[in-house]
Amino acid sequence: MKRTYLIVSLFFLTGFLACKKEVMETFAGFQRPTNFPEPAYHFATNKITKEGFELGRKLFYEVQLSANNTISCGSCHIQTAAFTHHGHALSHGIFDRMGTRNAPPIMNLAWNTSFMWDGGIVDLDLQSIAPITNHVEMDETMPNVLNKLRNSTVYPALFKKAWGSEEITSTGFLKALSQFMVMCVSSNSKYDSVMGNENGKVFTAEEQEGRVLVQQKCGACHTEPLFTDNRFRNNGLVPSSTNDEGRYLITQLDNDRYKFRVPSLRNLAYTAPYMHDGRLLTLDAVLDHYTSQVQATPNLDPLLQQGGIMGVQLTASERTKIKAFLNTLNDKSFLLDRRFAEQ
């Protein structure tokens, strides 16, 4: 307690006003936004604490997680791009090797029922192993990473603060990273304010009409309030040059070929380029895709070929309205939240 006051007064002294609000509040842990459903993450086996979260944050920005100590999770998941790899269609990793997929945002992951574009990872606690051991990404081994942390001057003490023992364990490592990631909740968009009836915020007429259109034309897949139904679908993109077959790679079932997990529509202003391989650079290109470029590839979603018409039909004014509504899903505060930044 005393320490909190000390920190608070220190911040007052330095006049670091941007941080004032969050530092004065005691660590609130994970809080479900009122307009969000119950999270899917198993908090029962990973109780969020301030120390666990802070350890996770430090690990997220730790370059020792990569083979040549140059790349951290934060290198590809950049906060100012809503934790995506801004400007990179395909994420490059260690030694500038290129990956085959676009980095998704670290955002509202507590509601994900699976991870990665193909849902190959089912527990957030197991997620961190994949990039660390991936040849293209960080090219390290887990035993090596844990040894580096054991030999560091800071981590044993941080593990003790978080988990009560200086021992660097895989569980402590993986769960701390999960704590940081589930805390990255983005729920301060205009849409959220309107939904939460905050300060009498309302949509403009254009935004409201856009919302109805999105609900009608996109909402079966991009379902409110997270703007994803967490399912795997084929939205009619031409197969990529690497012929990424998406969900099929995991289930090896023919009816999963070319299906990808439906991504959220939140924070699109900061997460371009779009789609699993980042092929579309702008929202207009996305709308062009849905209105005129949907391809009849295997397992194309029935919703995108209704009544013999490929894709969705939108007039110019409908497109404008949809874009106006999508704009209300951007949450600038998420990008600026000091709690999620490298300290």
């Binding site: 190959g120 197991l126 991936n134 887990m142 895989s170 790679l249 090896q252 999963d256």
Partner: protein, 264 residues
């Protein structure tokens, strides 16, 4: 063939000759040690990593550089018909040819004479979906099991055999045969778990009693993995890295293990 015949009759003789005076009193309430040895061989040769050269059913020569597999969920059937299931927590083993200490699965079972042994080749779905904090020992995906785990498709690799073969067209003439797949989380997918039951009566039943060591000696033949129900060819398939790809391998490894003898 002749050799085996002689061996069989020798053992049969041995077993019968022992039977008369050897009727120990068992106390089923007392637990005693039973070790199960996984002796990796290639046909009639002991398997030698890196140095031994062998020939598969397809007639291709090859060397093995790595051999690892999980065995789990041990069950023993007493001659009186009762079945003992080794508790979950003590029932997972990772056999690694390069580490001789790992060749023995040490079990603690009630005293008694057993007629069959059953175990799973692989890691069952329960353990595959368990919280990371429960994945200790050989199941630690960041430690002992780090190279027996598919991080991109959350799941343990059940069986891994890497090596080289002049027939392989992959870089460095390598082959990598990795099989896993426990049936899927949300979508039912390939299941390469194999339950193996071995009769112990023909080659010597283990008579487990406290104060003595009993060892069930099993032979694990890598040639059978390459040529059982499916003939594997390094020229056709050098790399197997997925549950579906691993199906023929798994059908073969289901019968790669046989009971050789028991040391009582």
């Amino acid at each position: 063939m002749k050799k085996i015949l002689i061996a069989v009759s020798a053992i049969a003789l041995f077993v019968t000759s022992c039977k008369k005076d050897d009727t120990p009193e068992y106390n089923p309430n007392v637990k005693a040690d039973l070790s199960v040895e996984f002796d990796n061989i290639a046909g009639s040769s002991d398997l030698q990593l890196n140095t031994g050269t062998y020939t598969n059913t397809a007639g291709e020569s090859f060397k093995v550089t790595k051999l690892k597999y999980f065995v789990s969920n041990f069950k023993l059937t007493n001659v009186d018909g009762t079945v003992y299931t080794v508790p979950q927590a003590q029932s997972y083993f990772l056999v690694d040819e390069s580490n001789s200490a790992s060749h023995e699965a040490l079990l603690s079972v009630p005293e008694g004479e057993y007629k069959t042994i059953t175990f799973t080749l692989g890691v069952d779905s329960l353990r595959n979906t368990m919280d990371v904090s429960q994945r200790t020992g050989v199941l630690d995906v960041t430690g002992a099991a780090a190279d027996m785990y598919w991080s991109w498709n959350s799941g343990y690799i059940f069986f891994k055999m890497d090596g080289t073969s002049p027939s392989s067209t992959a870089g460095g003439n390598v082959f990598q045969y990795h099989a896993g797949g426990f049936g899927g989380y949300s979508t039912p997918t390939v299941n390469n778990l194999k339950t193996i039951t071995l009769d112990l009566t023909t080659r010597g039943t283990p008579k487990v009693k406290s104060g003595k060591d009993t060892n069930i000696h099993l032979m694990v033949d890598v040639l059978k993995v390459l040529g059982g129900t499916a003939t594997m060819s390094f020229a056709t398939t050098a790399m197997i890295h997925s549950p579906t790809g691993g199906v023929p391998l798994a059908n073969n490894y289901a019968s790669m293990i046989s009971h050789d003898h028991t040391e009582n």
